[in-house]
């Protein structure tokens, strides 16, 4: 090969790199290892994680321990879906492009908005990306108003970018667990709410969207997609942009990623939406086919005027999402959501009746709710975990005003027996903790 090139060594191929920039020692990394050694190491690392297989977990807060049906793995493991690049040559990418079209349709149905893209990275950054769209659509305004009920990570991601745009994120407080929207003015570019909110409460989106429209602002709603089986679609109540975390649709927890974000908008915002979109068309012979379309929005054409800088998205995870939604079907998704609704109601009632445990709010909830404990949450959680139960997420880090708050999530994998066990363990832990406190006081 070197002879064909016309050089005498591989070294000669790097002649363009100045000697002063050549690394003169090997990289300070361990030597390579055999496949079985690498496997062992990765397994050993896995063993030092307490996963939802190792304990009874009621953790939620944006990602949930749902059952991922086996057919998803068998499909997304296929080389033809796993290994190709973004479909720049549509004639040999009809599989991926059609799957995107099917996915876009499903998201449009769930959200009640006509235009969906083919995925963005995940939930919180989708909220920030929606802010970018609102900023372009309303023209230069100074503020976003984001409910305190929006996921803390999403509010932070929006704030990071808003700062770069010279805009401010003003927080709308929660009252009784739901958004208490302040008076808006024409400096507000968008109102951002979450459905259900971080404390699990169902919000009145129609109220938020009409307040926004009155000042010419957009309404952005970050939603939990499975709950949209039961809740009024955001598109039906005046929301302009519906985004959200897609992990619950056929993707694993994976310690937070990869998953996907969905992004749907009104017809009016179609040419402002970020990300890849698949569109239907025909070929030379009149046969139906699919292509990436509206590409003039995107970075590779529009460059500095693009609707976003996104290039690689989350195609494989979105594929898992559409397979999951097809697996559920229209009745299945409602049944699944109703199962969670009933179990959540049951769990909330059982736990609230424990001495030293109270509801943080009594708004309608679908799959997650917030409790207030009379004993320090960290200690209660530690005691529960000794019993192999992880009762939920402590709220104090992001909601210091709810210092003794605990967020409890229910999925279809948490049975009544699991919930009863949680109740028993929580009751014992809270009472032991209260006893210990009494002893200390005495």
């Amino acid at each position: 090969m070197l002879a064909t090139i016309g050089v005498s060594s591989i070294e000669a191929l790097f002649a363009d790199i100045p000697k002063s920039l050549r690394l003169t020692r090997p990289l300070a990394l361990d030597a390579g290892r055999s496949e079985l050694e690498v496997f062992e190491e990765l397994r050993e690392l896995a063993d030092r994680n307490v996963s939802t297989e190792d304990e009874l977990s009621f953790l939620g807060g944006g990602m949930y321990d749902h059952y991922v049906p086996a057919l998803i793995d068998s499909i997304i493991e296929r080389s033809e879906f796993l290994t190709p690049y973004t479909p720049y040559q549509p004639e040999i990418s009809q599989g991926g492009l059609q799957a995107m079209f099917e996915y876009q349709t499903a998201i449009s149905e769930l959200t009640g908005l006509p235009v969906s893209n083919a995925s963005v990275y995940e939930g919180p950054s989708a909220v920030a990306a929606a802010g970018y769209v609102a900023k372009a659509a309303t023209g230069k305004r100074s503020t976003f108003v984001a409910s305190r009920g929006v996921h803390p990570h999403a509010r932070e991601a929006l704030a990071t970018l808003a700062h770069a745009w010279g805009m401010e994120v003003v927080e709308a407080p929660l009252r009784d667990g739901v958004t208490d929207l302040p008076e808006l003015d024409d400096q507000v570019s968008a109102v951002i709410v979450q459905q259900p909110n971080f404390l699990g409460a169902v919000e009145d989106l129609a109220a938020a969207s009409s307040a926004a429209k009155a000042v010419g602002a957009l309404t952005i709603c970050s939603c939990d997609p499975l709950t949209l089986a039961l809740l009024r679609p955001p598109g039906d109540v005046g929301v302009d942009i519906a985004v959200g975390e897609g992990q619950t649709l056929g993707n694993r927890l994976d310690f937070g990623g990869p998953s996907f974000g969905f992004f749907a908008v009104t017809e009016a915002l179609m040419r402002r939406i970020p990300g890849r979109i698949a569109g239907e068309t025909r070929d030379l012979d009149g046969k139906r086919g699919f292509v990436l379309t509206l590409q003039t929005r995107e970075q590779h054409i529009r460059r500095e005027k693009a609707t976003s800088n996104i290039c690689t998205a989350q195609a494989l995870n979105a594929l898992a999402g559409v397979i999951y939604l097809s697996w559920l079907g229209p009745r299945g998704i409602v049944e699944l959501a109703e199962l969670m609704l009933q179990r959540t109601a049951y769990a909330r009632e059982r736990l609230q009746s424990i001495h030293g445990v109270h509801a943080l709010h009594d708004q309608p909830v679908v799959r997650e709710f917030a409790l207030k404990l009379d004993a320090p949450v960290d200690h209660v959680i530690a005691r529960c975990r000794e019993q192999g139960v992880n009762p939920g997420y402590p709220l104090k880090a992001e909601y210091p005003e709810l210092a003794d708050g605990l967020l409890v999530a229910i999925t279809e994998q948490r049975t009544r027996a699991d919930i009863d066990r949680l109740a028993d363990v929580l009751e014992a832990s809270v009472s032991k903790q209260l006893e210990a406190y009494e002893e200390v006081k005495a």
Binding site: R271, Q295, T296, I301, R302, K305
Partner: protein, 128 residues
Amino acid sequence: MADPSYPDDLLYHPEHDWARVDGDEATFGITWYAQDALGEVVFFDPPQVGAQVKKDEAYTEVESVKAVSDVFAPLSGEVTEVNDELKDKPETINEDPYGDGWLVKIRLSDPSEAESLMDAAAYEATLS
């Protein structure tokens, strides 16, 4: 339109735009060269009626599948009419760039600006 054409009755701007002047009113569009370079036009978002356009400045964009191009005003004035037909049939810009593919009609603020534009021969010369 298959073959290059640059009608004699029009005035031309170096950024590949034409103007048809009639007293203190004018019609603007893009030249054969521009639509050929762009490829099949898929979208045209016209300015508002009443908007001010300024000579040598971009007043709108034309999009093809793989490109976006600024459209430059050959002359200054106020938009009196926009070609709404292009909303449903943007490809008219390719098929008939000087006729049905017109973009906007303007009331000129300074008709003397027309003196700085090129005639068909001068414009064609810049293309080679």
